[in-house]
């Protein structure tokens, strides 16, 4: 009798375990599906490119100086659109409004992201020393944004810009910090 009981119970206990496991899985699947949404491929690739933001008249930028410009971007934050502000460094080298290729100081206009590629602190321009210095861990960049000393793994990140009828339009972008390669942030 006891043996029969055990074997039947063995079967039932197995069944009970399976049942609990099934229930747990059935609950976990939609729950995880919901929670892991930000990782899904579709939501990643869906993050559109930020549009260009108006940075003012080019003529207003004094030649030869670095100027901190605030860009306003409308960001989609779930159910609302929020206005986010980002600061970028802009320098116009000559009086000519001709845009050079977005790049590191090739004459003309340079636009650099103020975000330090080391760990993300905003970088400051020090005119007395003619260099950019990051206040967090002492990263130093030349007047062209090139990394000269300190922990940052690469140069300051240039941003895309356009001249439209005498106005400067800059496209804000976020790049991955802490790596040598410049990779836009997608997730």
């Amino acid at each position: 009798m006891r043996n029969a009981k055990i074997s039947r119970r063995g079967y039932l206990s197995f069944l009970a375990d399976v049942l609990i496991a099934v229930i747990a899985i059935l609950v976990a699947i939609p729950a995880l599906g919901y929670v892991l949404t930000p990782l899904r491929r579709s939501s990643r690739t869906k993050s559109k490119e930020t549009p260009f933001s108006d940075a003012g008249l080019l003529a207003d930028y004094p030649a030869g100086q670095w100027r901190l410009v605030t860009l306003e971007i409308v960001q989609e934050d779930g159910w609302r659109k929020t206005r986010v502000r980002h600061s970028v460094w802009v320098r116009r080298l000559e009086a000519s409004p001709v845009a050079s290729a977005p790049g590191e100081g090739a004459g003309g206009i340079t636009v650099l992201s103020a975000i330090c590629p080391h760990l993300g602190c905003p970088v400051n321009w020090h005119p007395d020393q003619s260099q950019f210095i990051c206040p967090c861990h002492g990263g130093v960049f030349s007047s062209d944004g090139r990394h000269s000393s300190g922990p940052p793994p690469r140069n300051m990140d240039p941003l895309e810009f356009e001249i439209r009828e005498g106005r400067l339009w800059i496209r804000w972008e976020d790049f991955k910090i802490g790596v040598a390669e410049r990779i836009p942030v997608t997730v």
Binding site: S13, A16, L19, I23, V27, F52, V74, R164
Partner: protein, 739 residues
């Protein structure tokens, strides 16, 4: 304690550090006298339902924001944009109803078993406290979407609470978070719903379970002591198996239900809009009950009876002192149980069945036959979109009257005459493209199906009974909500043209309205004085002419009287609106709002321009005879040969060159030539427009479920066809665009 262990105890790594086998013994191998029972599974089923609510609730709080401005948009976001959001929300919503039901089942089961008798009285009382917690969770959770239903139901609920003698007002203020219902109420309710009550509930469940285990499961009354001992077996696996099966069935059932029925979401809470508040179904009995207590006796219904009921429930183990658990030996208890259950259930059913709403919340009545034959074409979900995106200016009733002072040209959707001056395509286009600077473009704000649905929705305002709180009509006509800024032709086009015609002759409508005057007749003009005409306009005339006094001010009417006079030349034809030079759709502005890249030929802008031009042209030159749908039905009595654009055979039989020819050079004796009034490109665009009226290329395979679906699909086909046709045409020459 007997221990039937399956595996040899793993007195190894884990056992030494955690002693888990003892835990397993205590938790899972508790002996159940009388064996495992299905009836005993309902308690754990209730617990499972609660745990499910916790899981789905936590998921929801990842996207929900409890404040007056953000609550509803965030819930809408969960419902529409978050993957699986609507499913999780539906699980949570229906799960709460399920919990109430399971709660009742568990209560009844425990009651019948007499499981509240000594020494288990405390277990029962904790259970009643758990009941309170559950109802509290339901009440507080209900407010969180901050939609109309939530707001008004909570307002009433708090009102009921305030009738508690003595502490009522204080209690309400405490729950409200302030003197009135508002943001603080919402944040409080959220905290209570998501933190306070769940925490309390979990604590009470632990105590409940501890007490339950301490006394052991209540033995079944039909087994003798020996039988009970003989059939004793441990909780695991058999009872757990039964619990598990019920839980699985419940999960599948709830999952199917949630997949099938979405959780509702009404329009955003608006304290200024009247709304018939209703609680959730499990409070409907109270809702009904309160009808029977009026005036000074109201408190009987709101406080005395419920308090009495809960006190009796709570102290029941001490009221029923009979030692028998056998229900057959407790006739009084059973009678009370039966009576109470039947009473509550019956009252609930009665309440729900007889619930007569004075006004259907945001659902239109079927418009009477004009201008389109249509059954009820509203759907509550479209109403939500409308209320969120349009009602701020256009009003919930479509009249736009609340802002007409500041925006005088806003149309009145309830105006039949306005409706009859618009084709469906034009309405659709207007929503997509806006009417800068007054009406924003919704191209980027709403999806295409949403816009199409709204176009259908706008139509039904014609006999507008959409939840219109009787708005006080302004008494002095000088406050009548129509701008004097509308030029006479514009007013005429909007309000008179449908019946009186472009030329004032009124030929179109005379078949239906034999008394309709012909403005061009000298005889008629002489027979009527100015004050008479004015009176007809303001007060209406005869069976068909509508009173315009709500739409036209005195000054407007005087203007229109003069306009009517001007028809006597017999040569006035109202088509002078130039194809409007569209204001730039994408004006350069400081980029606070992202502006799409200005590429050389912005396709959507050009298409939109041409669509706008085509709709304007159609409205002025064609609509009168060919109708808002292109069927020409209105005019067919007078013009038997007028084509029906919606007829497939006509569309296939008529080539585009023929269409162009008819437009530019006229056709037969009745259709005029429009060369000189439209150029070739415009004629081509018009031809595309006419093509769009045609039926879809393939006949629909199944009959759409209801009128809304049919109209939606028609409009969708029309719109797609129009865009396709316009795209296929060569782009217009530069000159025409700048007209």
């Amino acid at each position: 304690m007997e221990s039937h262990e399956e595996q040899p105890p793993r007195a190894g790594f884990w056992e030494e550090r955690t002693g888990w086998t003892m835990l397993k013994q205590v938790l899972f191998l508790e002996p159940l006298t009388g064996g495992s029972r299905w009836a005993a599974a309902f308690g754990s089923l209730l617990l499972f339902a609660f745990l499910l609510q916790v899981v789905t609730g936590i998921l929801l709080t990842m996207s929900y924001a409890p404040s007056v401005e953000t609550a509803w948009p965030s819930v809408k976001y969960i419902q529409e944009d978050v993957p699986l959001g609507s499913f999780i929300r539906a699980l949570h919503h229906w799960g709460s109803s399920a919990m109430v039901l399971l709660l009742l089942v568990h209560l009844i089961q425990v009651f019948v078993w007499g499981a509240y008798k000594k020494p288990r009285e405390l277990t029962w009382m904790i259970g009643v406290l758990l009941l309170f917690c559950t109802l509290g969770l339901a009440f507080t959770g209900y407010l969180l979407p901050w939609d109309q239903k939530a707001y008004w139901a909570t307002k009433v609920g708090l009102g009921i609470i305030s009738t508690t003698p003595g502490i009522g007002d204080g209690l309400r203020a405490l729950l409200q978070g302030g003197p009135t219902m508002g943001n603080l109420t919402l944040t409080r309710f959220f905290s209570i719903h998501a933190f306070l009550l769940p925490g309390l509930l979990i604590l009470l469940v632990i105590v409940h379970l501890y007490l339950f285990r301490r006394h052991g499961v209540t033995p079944s009354w039909w087994q003798s002591a020996e039988q009970l001992k003989a059939t004793e077996e441990p909780f695991w696996p058999k009872q757990l198996l039964k619990d598990g099966v019920l839980a699985l069935v419940f999960l599948m059932g709830l999952g199917w239900w949630a997949n099938h029925f979405a959780a509702p979401l009404e329009a955003q809470a608006d304290p200024s809009q009247a709304f018939e508040a209703r609680p959730e179904w499990y409070f409907m009995f109270l809702f009904r009950l309160l009808r029977y207590f009026e005036g000074p006796y109201e408190i009987v219904g709101t406080f005395v009876l419920p308090a009495l009921f809960f006190l009796i429930l709570f102290f029941w183990p001490f009221l029923d002192r009979s030692p028998h658990r056998d229900p057959r030996r407790r006739p009084l208890a059973m009678t009370l149980l039966a009576g109470g259950t039947i009473g509550l259930v019956g009252l609930t059913i009665f309440a729900v069945a007889t619930d007569v709403r004075m006004k259907e919340p945001v659902q239109a009545q079927a418009p009477s036959p004009k201008p389109e034959p249509a059954g009820p074409i509203q759907r509550a979900d479209v109403a939500k979109i409308y209320n969120g995106a349009c009602a701020a200016c256009h009003g919930v009733d479509g009249s736009g009257q609340q802002i007409r002072k500041g925006m005088p040209t806003i149309p009145d959707f309830t105006s039949l005459a306005w409706q009859m001056s618009q084709t469906d395509l034009e309405i659709n286009h207007r929503i997509i493209d806006g009417n800068e600077p007054l009406m924003p473009a919704y191209r980027d704000k709403l999806s295409q199906p949403q816009i199409l649905a709204l176009s259908v929705y706008v139509r039904a305002f014609a006999v507008g009974l959409i939840e219109a709180p009787p708005s006080p009509k302004p008494a002095p006509p000088s406050q009548a909500p129509v701008a004097a800024q509308m030029a006479s032709p514009q007013i005429y086009r909007t309000y008179c043209l449908a019946c009186h015609d472009a030329d004032g002759r009124g030929q179109t409508a005379r078949k239906a309205m034999p008394e309709l005057p012909d403005f061009t007749l000298e005889k008629w003009q002489l027979a009527h004085t100015d004050p008479e005409i004015k009176k007809s306009i303001l007060q209406g005339k005869g069976k068909f002419m509508l009173a315009m006094k709500d739409k036209l001010s005195e000054a407007d009417t005087d203007q229109m009287v003069a306009f009517v006079r001007s028809f006597r030349t017999g040569k006035q034809l109202i088509l002078v609106q130039p194809p409007s030079s569209p204001t730039e759709h994408f004006p350069a502005q400081p980029a606070v709002v992202p502006i799409p890249k200005v590429s050389p030929a912005p396709e959507p802008a050009e298409l939109a321009t041409r669509t706008r031009a085509a709709t304007a042209l159609y409205r002025q030159y064609c609509l009168i005879c060919h109708g808002t749908t292109g069927s020409g039905s209105d005019m067919r009595a007078a013009m038997p040969n007028i084509p029906d654009f919606t007829d497939r055979s006509w569309q296939t039989a008529t080539g585009t060159p023929q269409l162009l020819n008819s437009i530019l050079d006229g056709k037969g004796t009745l259709m005029p030539a429009f060369r000189g009034r439209v150029n070739e490109d415009q004629a081509r665009d018009l031809a595309a427009y006419i093509r769009a009226f045609g039926p879809p290329p393939t006949a629909p395979s199944e009959l759409p479920a209801n009128d809304f679906e049919r109209r939606f699909r028609e409009l969708q086909n029309q719109w797609n066809e129009l865009q396709k046709q316009l795209k296929a045409l060569p782009p217009p020459a530069k000159s025409s665009r700048s007209q």
